[in-house]
Amino acid sequence: MEPVGISHFMTVGAIMFVCGVVCMATKRNALGVLMGIELVLNGANVNFVALSSDFLTTNPARGLGLDGQFIALFVIVLAAAEAAVALAITLNFYNNHSTVDVDRADELKG
């Protein structure tokens, strides 16, 4: 793996994505689920930035160029917004139920 390429960055992104998915699926704490979402978004961001890079590939003309970095920036901003709203919802849930266990949030079950 002497010249580091897009593939190696994408492997890191894949590992972070999978960790985030497992974190979302297995954590019972609502904040743990939120952290899983952050990990998933970061895995996607690693892929976007790697594809936008000029010197990680042998054919930079077929890369994303600056578009990948723009998408990564938008993802970062949207992740901040999502974290704020999800945290507000979690705090509301904690005020009503005095727990953040997502298994207790089953009142809407049909």
Binding site: P3, M16, A72
Partner: protein
Amino acid sequence: MNWHTFFFLLFALVACGFAVMVVLSSNIVRMALYLIFSLGATAGLFFLAGADFVGAMQLMIYVGGTLVLLVFGVMLTAQGPFVSMKTRGGDWILAALLSGSLLAFLVPAAFSIKEWTNAPPAAAEEHHAAAGRGRAEAKVRFALTSTPAENADAAADESSTAALPGMAAQPATATRLGMGLLGVRVDKLEGRSPELQRGMSGYLLPFEIVSVHLLVVLVGAAYLARSKRRATR
């Protein structure tokens, strides 16, 4: 092993290792701490990929803003000193199956395209292409900057770039990103036909939308999380 590979391995190991520890830990405070390390190492990976502005934004917004928000959430919803919600054993088995199959699908897919692995034989053409793009960007830059002295400097810079083809003068990405927001794409000068380019205004409209969206979302979050005083009413 050169320094790029060394730092890539370092940051990749820190990012992936702490991501795995976020999954395996059951203490929410430790999870937040591991997540901070993982995202900080991801910012290092962004710097290594040449995206310095995105890396700085990752450090400032993500690690400095979003994770502080998460840590405050952890503190505001604390339920006694050592509350940990365990995951059941069957869930772990399912999760291991799911993650193993996902990884077995994603990692070979990442290595399946030859030019993504950055194999050495085509390195010479890559350097030429990068140098050519650097020169085109330099031309745009001194078309935009006005004074002749700067033009002379840029010309000297260009000649030194031509002398060292592997060290193409890439400016910091903040300038290129800012111009791309305004619709001037210095990285794709000859990319599109003029008919397609007429309707393009860069990323200015998405930027406006995302900033108004962030404002509305923060107002909504403050409204949602306000302390209710039903008892006094």
